[in-house]
């Protein structure tokens, strides 16, 4: 048996593998967050909940409609992405001209509602979702055992990340998107329908989260809390990579997964917070993140000029307030208290 720095190579490679798996999820999720933040200037707190939704929709497709894993991998991002576009159209777009806090509060509220709904329907113990037949088992490489499904997760998310990078950096649609990120008013003045571009972008970000949710279902089980466990780390990854940076999200995602895995080998006590230590150091040395451009800051300053105070008409204010109080009073009679 070979040792590296006194650590058996099997242990090292095993943790590297686990790190890469986590990194695959970090990268896919932070990529979606970065795409959304770049164009919408909104920190999508609902991202973790939409990842959870991806896993649940995959489970529902299997158990209610008999659609298997491969069908889910294709269908779930579309279904959840469309749901995201609906949310953007109904709710999110109303916050673009308001202070950032409103977008943040709204998506945070959405996350609570989505997670609460799954918790209400399926409980917190988790639902099993089995590895597809074709990817069960694994191969002994001599120096380590490689489960096929885990290898697939890494390859699939790498391919999807690269695909999204190509879409944004190399296509006409991507050029429109980058231009709209930089100067939305000017892109509109060229006759490009920016509101639809924003909706598609949010849909793309959400679809990425849902895709990660399907990939995760066979590994972590389908659990209402799976998103909120992951999302805190993903936010740290986004900050390290640079807010709104596409390449930053991918590189930081996989890189930090590996760093976390290796920390488990060399200094296990630190593995839970190493990413946050790195985040603190990056923020001190390079506040825009490793790949961040000061451009994003400029863009949000331009958006600042457009921000309007929220003004509901008095009638709507009373109606909305009354409705919420009514719901709060009647809710406990119908909903089993989950908290």
């Amino acid at each position: 048996m070979i040792d590296i720095l006194g650590i058996p190579v099997q242990v090292l490679l095993g943790q590297l593998m686990l790190g890469l798996i986590n990194g695959a999820f970090y990268a896919t999720l932070s990529l979606g967050l970065a795409v959304i933040f770049g164009l919408l200037n909104i920190i999508n707190f609902a991202h973790g909940a939409l990842y959870t939704a991806g896993a649940f929709v995959a489970w529902m497709l299997l158990n209610y409609l008999g659609i298997n894993y491969w069908g889910a991998l294709l269908l779930v991002p579309i279904v959840v992405g469309l749901l995201g576009m609906l949310l953007e159209w109904l709710l999110l777009r109303r916050t673009y001209r308001m202070d950032h806090l409103y977008g943040l509060l709204l998506t945070f509220g959405l996350a609570l509602v989505i997670e609460g709904a799954f918790r209400q329907m399926y409980g917190v113990s988790g639902l099993p979702y089995s590895i597809p037949q074709a990817l069960s088992g694994g191969i002994n490489l001599g120096f380590m055992y490689l489960p096929f499904y885990r290898a697939w997760v890494i390859v699939a998310s790498l391919l999807v990340c690269l695909g999204v990078w190509l879409l944004i950096e190399r296509t006409r649609l991507g050029a429109n998107l980058r231009a709209a990120t930089e100067n939305p008013a000017m892109v509109k003045a060229f006759g490009i329908n920016v509101p639809v571009l924003i909706r598609l972008t949010y849909g793309l970000g959400v679809a990425l989260a849902a895709f990660a949710g399907v990939l995760a279902a066979p590994i972590y089980q389908v659990n209402p809390l799976m998103g909120s466990n992951l999302i805190v780390v993903v936010f740290a990854v986004v900050v390290i990579g640079g807010m709104g940076s596409i390449m930053g999200a991918i590189v930081a995602g996989f890189g930090l997964g590996i760093v976390e895995g290796l920390t488990k080998v060399f200094y296990p006590e630190a593995s839970n917070f190493i990413i946050f230590v790195i985040m603190a150091i990056v923020l001190l040395l390079k506040p825009a993140g490793l790949f961040g451009r000061p451009l994003q800051v400029q863009n949000s300053m331009a958006a600042e000029a457009l921000r309007q105070p929220v003004a509901l008409s008095p009638a709507l204010r009373w109606f909305g307030g009354g409705l919420l109080i009514l719901l709060a009073l009647l809710g406990p009679l119908f909903l089993y208290p989950t908290f």
Binding site: R172, A175, N176, R178, A179, T181, E182, N183, A185, M186, V187, K188, A189, F190, G191, I192, N193, V194, P195, R293, L295, L306
Partner: protein
């Protein structure tokens, strides 16, 4: 196509509480180059931005090729056949020169081909694959004009295209504007440099405090340079 590609009447616009355009009216006939002259803060740029729907609050009438556009969604206005080139040029730094040029969709039939544009502005050929952020001011201006020529817009709005550029580049931009006029494009030019304006324009509108206060043909402008210098000359006095 109507003989009046743009007809603005009694246009009002606001930035928040401040009433910046107070009943602006002007028009341009097909194939004409008109300028809007005036000192800083007179409302020239705001007039162009209002035409493009970039101000939240507007009133009055803006007819583009005969069609009322005041109530249109902002992204639909350019599709009536307008190309807008803002004062800050708005070259996208995260896009290459090629991507910048190809970004705006077609909005009209009178499009120049990429070859024509590169013939008009040979400098762009050399910077074809470099990033939009690496261009000099003159190159940015050429790209900003070239970009809207590719869209086929028959009505072009140019906001201070010569601002801050070296004389040799100003000459090149002037030649380009005259070449476009020969192709039958209608051009609205906002300028502070009225000596430059007189080399390219047919008519001039003079703005002050959000209103059009004077209108003269280029021949009249040449005869009354003193009168214009008085209105516009104050700029320099104020600045120094």
């Amino acid at each position: 196509m109507t003989s009046t590609p743009i007809e603005v009447s009694d246009l009002h616009a606001w930035y928040g509480e401040s009433h910046v355009l107070q009943g602006v009216s002007f028009n341009a006939h097909s194939g004409e180059v008109i300028t809007i002259l005036g000192r800083n803060g007179a409302g020239k740029t705001t007039t162009l931005r209002s035409i493009m729907g970039m101000l939240p609050q507007r009133q009055g009438s803006i007819r583009i090729h005969g069609q009322e556009s005041i109530a249109l969604a902002d992204y639909r206005i350019a599709r009536l056949g307008i190309g807008y080139c803002p004062e800050e040029r708005a070259i996208f730094r995260s896009l290459s020169v090629r991507e910048n040029l190809m970004l705006p969709p077609r909005v009209g039939a009178s499009a120049l081909s990429v070859e024509d544009i590169l013939a008009l502005f040979p400098n762009l050929q050399e910077r074809w694959t470099s990033g939009g952020g690496n261009l000099s001011g003159g190159e940015q201006q050429m790209l900003a004009i070239g970009r809207i020529l590719r869209t086929g817009a028959s009505l072009i709005l140019l906001d201070e295209p010569t601002e801050g550029l070296a004389p040799v580049i100003v000459q090149q931009i002037g030649a380009a504007i005259r070449a476009l006029k020969e192709r039958g494009l209608t051009i609205i030019l906002v300028e502070q440099n009225f000596r430059f304006a007189m080399t390219v324009a047919d008519r001039h509108y003079v703005m002050e405090n959000g209103q059009v206060v004077d209108q003269l043909t280029n021949t009249e402008a040449r005869q009354h340079t003193e009168r214009l210098r008085q209105v516009l000359g104050r700029i320099r006095g104020n600045r120094q």
